[in-house]
Amino acid sequence: MILLRLFFEFFKTGLFAVGGGMATLPFMYDIADRTGWFTHEMLADMIAVSESTPGPIGVNMATYVGYATAGIPGSVIATLGLITPSVMIILLIARALKAFRDNPTVDAGFYGLRPCSVGLIAAAGVLVVRLALLDTARYAATGVLTDLFNCKALLLAAVLFVCTRYVKKLKGLHPIVFILGSAVVGIAFSF
């Protein structure tokens, strides 16, 4: 039964997530909130693992979430659920690729969809920020505003931000380099 639901949830994700791997994130958070199969913390870790292993990020996320929910059968079913709508849609439009690309209504629809996708990913990012950079529990207990911020984490975020965006020698590097570096910093400074 859980496998059937898992398939359905990921089928929905595959059908509505437009714009690649990160676009599946808001759907994963939605699944976590509604089903309780996994926590926000687990999701953030899954993103890191999906980024640092071979394979498409969306597929990696589905496999990981499926495994966390229902073991090996779960990972297979979640992945199949995610790719089924893609395969059906592509097989349908492959016959009329040019007509699809040039259709003004399709183009107008995607004109609206693209900013929506970015908005949804940004909102999922807010959830990760709350988890990784803020300490909402401590703030709720003390009420002191400075207790809201996790200083060590904010400092690391600032360094990573500069390294991935502005340092010429570093910004082209694969995300795995930064992920591994952050893991080392996390252990060294006991985050």
Binding site: G20, A48, G55, Y111, G119
Partner: protein, 180 residues
């Protein structure tokens, strides 16, 4: 039969070598699909990739389905897709299994607390990259802000936003607001 096996293996190789998804797969696809097997031309590949980006689902899966379909019909499309996801299934299942057994080790916990900080920055960078292609005028900025704020503060399924935004895109284009 040999045709399908070749297709599966070629896309499994693409799956293993695509690290981080998205554009990372283009050079590998070019080598496997165009240079080695001649299953598609460079122009076709770009077309598939462009359509794969703007249709629902994972981009590399969409591209694999296109190429497989062109080379060997519907079953080709399905086999190429299974090929591209196969390595992920194996690798992630193994890693997930290992991590679940070590999740309570303090050092592993600290490592992942550090990694989560990095994930924030990676998501931010992804948003900036996608933003450049998506938010192109006032109307798309309004859609972005509306979706972002509503999904932060309300508990609404992303499906609702996706359907409404597509409809808004069509309506706004018809009204001639686009590009202003």
């Amino acid at each position: 039969m040999k045709k399908y096996w070749e297709l599966f293996l070629a896309f499994a190789r693409v799956g293993v070598m695509t690290f981080g998804g998205g554009y990372a797969m283009i050079p590998i696809l070019e080598r496997e699909i165009i240079d080695k097997h001649h299953w598609a031309t460079s122009e076709e590949l770009m077309d598939y990739y462009a359509v794969g980006q703007c249709t629902p689902g994972v981009i590399s899966v969409n591209t694999a389905t296109f190429i497989g379909y062109k080379y060997a019909g519907v079953s080709g499309g399905i086999i190429a897709t299974l090929g591209v996801v196969f390595p992920s299934l194996v690798i992630i299942t193994v890693i997930a299994g290992i991590l679940t057994s070590f999740a309570d080790v303090p050092a592993v916990k600290s490592a992942f607390a550090g990694i989560r900080v990095c994930v924030c920055v990676l998501i931010f960078n992804a948003v900036v990259k996608l933003w450049k292609k998506a938010v192109v005028d006032k109307a798309t900025l309004a859609i972005f802000l509306a979706v972002f704020l509503l999904s932060v503060f309300l508990d609404v399924s992303p499906v609702v936003f996706v359907v409404l935004s597509a409809a808004a895109g069509i309506a706004l284009t018809r009204m001639g607001v686009r590009g202003k």
